[in-house]
Subunit: 595 residues, 2 copies
C-alpha cells in the first residue's frame, strides 16, 4: 500500500508556465477561466484522488472485478469512489457548458486524468472511456442524441463504453464483422460479438451507453463500410426514464496481468433476440471517420495513463528510499546504516524516474494545449498549425509516455529490491498495470507506422520541418541563457541534429521504398520522441531559470527543476545517438531473415 499525494506544484509549473495557460484563457470559450480557478479545481480534485481514490487501488488489484449472473461487480469501494467523482461533477469539467460541462480547457482535463490514473488507473478507465463516448456523440450525434444521452454522460450519471475490437479485427479495425440491420422505425438491430471492451459491463452506473462499430448489409468492405451506433444497456423511454434491458450482454471477463479491477468484457449483441437495438450516429459508413476524430484524444489519454503510473511509482519508490537503510553510502560515517536514497546508483534511479516523469507531463500537457488551440484559436492559421503539431506529436506522446511508464515502473521495483517483487508492496502493480498502455489504442508499433506512414509525409515533410525549427529555436534560447543551461543547449542541439538528419534520410529513402520507412519506424519514433521530450525539458530549464532570475517562485523548487532538466539532457536524451544507426540500417536484414 502506498500513499499518493497530487503533485500540485509540478502540475502547476507545467500547466501554468510550460503551457501558456494565460494564452488559453484568452481563447473564446475559456473567457471565464483564469489561472486561479484552474488551480482551485486541481487542488480540490487532487484531494479527492488522494483521499478517496488512491486507497482503492491495491484492493482493486487484489480482488478484481468479477461476473455475477449477467452483471459485473466492481471491487469494494469503487462504486463509492466513482459516485464521489460523479456527484461533484468532476467528469463535466472539460466539456461544453451547453451540455452541462464546466467549460475548462482540455489541458485541465488532462491534468485531472493524470491524477485519476495515479490514484487508480483501473477505475479511471470508467470515466475516461465515457469521455471518449461523449466526444463521439458531441461531435457527430444528433441534437436528440445529445439531449437523451450526452447530458447524463457529462454529468456522470451514465457511463459510456467503446466497442471496437473483434477477435480477427484488432489492429486491423476494418476487418470487423458485427452486423447492423436497419429497421422501419429508423433504428438498427445489431448482432455479433466484440472483445476487449473496457467497462463494457459494471455496477457503477444505472445505464451504460455503448458506442458500437458495425457493418450494414450492403456496406463496402474494409474501413469504408463501418458505421457507429449508440447501443444503450437499457433503452430510454420518451420521458427519459429507463425502459427495457437491451440485448447487449457480457459473456465473460478476461483474466489480465494488470488493471484487474477494470472489467475487460466479451460482449454479445442480439444473442437472445433478433439483435440489440442501436441508433446510428451521423451517417452510415462514416464510423471510421468519427473514430479518427476521437483518436488523438484517446491516444493522448493512454499516454497520460503512463504518466499517472510513473508519478505514482516514483512517489512510492522515493518514500521507500527515504526510509530504508542499507549499507554505507560513500563518505558516510560508520554507525547507523545509510538511507538508500544516499547511494549514487539509487539516486540515478530516482532521478531517471523523476526527470522522465516530468518530461512525460510536459509532452502530454503540451499536446493537450494544442488540442485546445486547434479547436478554438480565432485565426485559422493558428488552428491549423496547432492541429499539425497535435497530429505529429500524438504517436510520440502515446508511445513514449507508455514505453517510459514501463521503464519508470520497472525502476520503481528495482529501488525496492526484493520487496518490489512482493505483491503486498504495491510497486509491482504499477509495472503490471503499465504494460497494457503500450498495447491498446494502437500498439506502439502501430503508432510508429502512423508516424512514418501518415505524419512525416504531412505537407510533404513541412510539418516535421516546422517542428525541427521549433526545437532549434529552443536551442538558440538556451544558448543565450547563461552557463547553467549550456550543457542542456549542447545536448539538445546534438539530438535535434540527429532527429533532423534521420528524419530527412527516412523521408528520402522511405519515399522510394515504403518498406524502408516501416523498417525504421520504431527506432525513429523513439529517437524523435526523446528529442521532443528533451526540447520540452529545455523549455522547462529556461522557465525555471527565468523565474529564478526574477525571484518569482520557490527557489529551491526551481533549482530542482533545473537539475532535473540537466539530468535529462545528459542522461536520458543521449539515447538518441544509439538510435540513429538502427533507424537508418535499412530493410535488408529485417526482410532477409527467415522465421
Amino acid at each position: 500500500m502506498s500513499d499518493y499525494a497530487a503533485p500540485l506544484d509540478d502540475i502547476r509549473f507545467t500547466i501554468d508556465g510550460l503551457v501558456d495557460l494565460d494564452g488559453l484563457t484568452k481563447l473564446e470559450p475559456y473567457g471565464e477561466i483564469d489561472a486561479d480557478s484552474v488551480q482551485a479545481v486541481l487542488e480540490e480534485f487532487g484531494r479527492l484522488m488522494a483521499e478517496v481514490w488512491a486507497p482503492t487501488n491495491v484492493t482493486g488489484d487484489t480482488v478484481g472485478s468479477h461476473m455475477e449472473g449477467d452483471g459485473v461487480v466492481t471491487p469494494e469501494g469503487f462504486k463509492e469512489a466513482y459516485q464521489a467523482y460523479a456527484d461533484a461533477g468532476w467528469g463535466a469539467v472539460p466539456f461544453e457548458p451547453e451540455y452541462g460541462g464546466g467549460g475548462f480547457p482540455w489541458v485541465v482535463g488532462i491534468a485531472m486524468q493524470e491524477m485519476l490514473n495515479s490514484a487508480n488507473m483501473a477505475l479511471a478507465m470508467a470515466p475516461l472511456l465515457t469521455q471518449g463516448a461523449i466526444d463521439a456523440i458531441l461531435f457527430h450525434g444528433s441534437e436528440e442524441q445529445r439531449e437523451v444521452y450526452l447530458k447524463r454522460m457529462v454529468s456522470g450519471e451514465w457511463a459510456g463504453s467503446m466497442n471496437l475490437t473483434e477477435p480477427d479485427a484488432g489492429s486491423d479495425v476494418g476487418a470487423l464483422r458485427t452486423r447492423a440491420v436497419r429497421q422501419d422505425d429508423g433504428s438498427y438491430r445489431i448482432t455479433g460479438q466484440k472483445i476487449y471492451i473496457t467497462f463494457g459491463e459494471h455496477d457503477l452506473t444505472e445505464n451504460i451507453v455503448h458506442l458500437v462499430l458495425a457493418r450494414t448489409p450492403d456496406a463496402p468492405t474494409g474501413t469504408k463500410g463501418i458505421s457507429c451506433f449508440i447501443v444503450p444497456k437499457y433503452l430510454v423511454e420518451e420521458d427519459g426514464s429507463l425502459g427495457e434491458r437491451n440485448d447487449v450482454k457480457v459473456v465473460s471477463l478476461e483474466h489480465k496481468m494488470g488493471i484487474k479491477a477494470s472489467p475487460t468484457c466479451v460482449l454479445a449483441y442480439g444473442d437472445e433476440s433478433d439483435g440489440a437495438v442501436g441508433y446510428l450516429i451521423g451517417e452510415e459508413n462514416a464510423g471510421m471517420r468519427y473514430m479518427f476524430t476521437m483518436m488523438n484524444n484517446a491516444r493522448l489519454g493512454v499516454g497520460v495513463e503512463g504518466l499517472g503510473l510513473a508519478e505514482r511509482s516514483y512517489q512510492q519508490a522515493l518514500d521507500y528510499a527515504k526510509e530504508r537503510h542499507q549499507g554505507y553510502a560513500p563518505g558516510a560515517a560508520r554507525g547507523e546504516k545509510s538511507l538508500i536514497v544516499d547511494h549514487p546508483d539509487v539516486r540515478r534511479n530516482l532521478l531517471t524516474m523523476r526527470s522522465v516523469t516530468e518530461a512525460m507531463r510536459a509532452l502530454a500537457y503540451t499536446v493537450a494545449e494544442h488540442i485546445d488551440i486547434a479547436k478554438h484559436a480565432s485565426e485559422e492559421a493558428d488552428r491549423t498549425e496547432a492541429q499539425e503539431l497535435v497530429d505529429l506529436l500524438i504517436p510520440l506522446a502515446k508511445s513514449w509516455c507508455t514505453d517510459e511508464a514501463e521503464r519508470v515502473t520497472s525502476i520503481g521495483i528495482q529501488v525496492h529490491g526484493g520487496m518490489g517483487y512482493i505483491e503486498e508492496t504495491g510497486a509491482a502493480q504499477h509495472y503490471r498495470d503499465a504494460k497494457i498502455t503500450q498495447i491498446y489504442e494502437g500498439t506502439n508499433g502501430i503508432q510508429a507506422m502512423d508516424l512514418v506512414g501518415r505524419k512525416m509525409p504531412m505537407r510533404a515533410g513541412g510539418v516535421f520541418t516546422d517542428q525541427v525549427a521549433r526545437m532549434r529555436a529552443t536551442v538558440t534560447e538556451l544558448e543565450g541563457a547563461g552557463d547553467g543551461l549550456a550543457p542542456i543547449a549542447e545536448e539538445l542541439a546534438k539530438a535535434v541534429d540527429a532527429t533532423e538528419s534521420t528524419g530527412r534520410w527516412l523521408m528520402e529513402n522511405g519515399m522510394e521504398d515504403p518498406v524502408v520507412a516501416l523498417s525504421a519506424a520504431t527506432p525513429f519514433q523513439r529517437l524523435f520522441a526523446l528529442t521532443a521530450a528533451g526540447w520540452l525539458m529545455g523549455k522547462q530549464a529556461l522557465l525555471a531559470s527565468r523565474r529564478l532570475d526574477a525571484g518569482d517562485g520557490d527557489s529551491s523548487f526551481l533549482e530542482e527543476k533545473l537539475i532535473t532538466a540537466r539530468f535529462f539532457a545528459r542522461n536520458v536524451l543521449p539515447e538518441v545517438h544509439g538510435l540513429v544507426g538502427p533507424a537508418t540500417s535499412g530493410k535488408d536484414d529485417l526482410m532477409g531473415a527467415s522465421f
Copy 2:
C-alpha cells in the same frame, strides 16, 4: 499455453563452435567427454524438458505453491517432473564423479540450466539452488559432510537451499543477525529468522539441506563475522537414515509477481527449542569467503534464467506471428490477410528477440567455458587469465542477460497485441517471471557497483585492457573476413572504441573520486555488456562465415546466424553510443538533487 522445443541446433552452434568444446575436453578431468557425448546428453535432456517439464509451467503459475500445516505443497505435476529429473541423474551431470557426478564440463551444465529455465523457471530453482549448496559443501565441507550430504544432493535424492537474506540484511549481507552457538558436541544451535528462501520448504524430496549464514556470539561485526552452517530439515542418523525433524520451519510464503510456483519462504530457526541443529562448514567467520566462491556460479545462473525465459518467450512469439493474420504487409496481394510475421515492424521485434537471445547464450556459455578453464587448465597462467575473464564478465552476464530478458519478454507480449496481456496466453508469465532476475543474487545496480568498484580496478585496469584487446582482435579478424562482415567489423570497432575510452575515463576519474565511478556504474555496465555481447556476435559471424566457406553444416542455418549477427551489430549494439554521455556525466546532478 505454449510449446517449447529445446533449441538444440542453436545450443550446439554455441557450445561446440563459439565455445571451444574440443579444447575443454582436453582438460584433465574431461578426458572421457567428447562432442558426441555432450550432444547426446543435451538431446536427451531437451526431450525431458520439452515433454515433461514445459507443460507444467503455466499450471505452476496459475496454482502456485502453498502452505499446508508446516509444509509446502508444490503444484500438480511438479513432484513427478522433479522425480523424472532426479531419477535419471540429470542433476549430477556437471559434478565430479567422485561424489556420483557425471564429470561433464560446467558449460554443459549451463546449457542444461538454459533448458530447465525455458521449460519451467520456477521449478528449475529447486535443482539450481541445490547446485549452489553442493558447490559450498564440495569446496569447503569436511569429508564426512561430503559423504553424508553431498552424494545424496548430487543424486537429486535430497535438495539444498541457500539461507542468506534477513529483513535488514539484503544487499548488505554483513548486517545479518541470525545466531549460532557452539555446543559441547561440536554442533551449533541456530536461532533467528531469514526471508526470501527459495524452496526453503517443499514436498519434492524427503530431506532438504539448508545452508545457513549466521553469526557466533563473539564474531566480528560485518561480513568478517559470518559463518556457514549445514542445517538439515531432518537430522541424519549414523547409518544414514533420517532421524528427528530439525527445528527449522517455514513461517510463511511470499505472494510474488512471478515464479509463483517457487515457494519463497520465511524460515524460522529454533522457534520451538533452543535452536536448530547446525554443523559448521569449514571455519568460523569464513562464511562470506565461501559464499564468494559460489557467487560467480550463482550470478551466472541467474543470467541463464534470463536466457531461458528469453528463448521461451521468443519461441512463443514466433509461433503466434506465424499463425496470426492481421492487415496487409507491404506488397501483399489483397485477399487473405497477411501473417503478422510479414510486417516489417513485427520482424524487427522478432529479430531483436532472436539476436539478443543468441547473444545472451553466447555470453553465458563463454563465461561458463572460462569457469571450466579457470579450474582445470594445466598451466597456471591459463587458469589465471580465465578466472580474470570470469570475474570481469560476471556482472555483465548477470545484469545484461536479465535486463535483456525484461526487454525480450516485453516484446514477446507486444507481438501478441492485446492477447499478450491476457494471462491464458502465457506470454505475460515470462515477463512477470523475468523481473526477479534483475533483483536477486545482487540487484543489477549492485552488479554495476561490483564492476566499477572491484572488477575494473583488477590488476590496475589490466584485466579490462586485456578484454579490450580480445575484442579488438575480433574486429581485426572481421575486417579481414570479406565484405559480408564489414558492417559488423565497423559497428564493433566503434563500440570497442567507446568502451575503451569510457572505461579509461572512468578509471581516471573514479580513482580520484569514487562517487564519480558509482554514479557512472549502471550506464557503464550496460555499455560494456553490449560491447561484450557484440564481440561474441562478431565471433558468431566469423564462425558461421567460415563454416559456410568450408561447406561445413546447414547453409541456411548458417546464413541465418550471419543475418542475426549483422542485425545485432546494426540495431542492438549501437545503443552504446547513447550510453557514453550518461557514463561520463559525472556526479554533480546526481548528488546535487534533493529528494
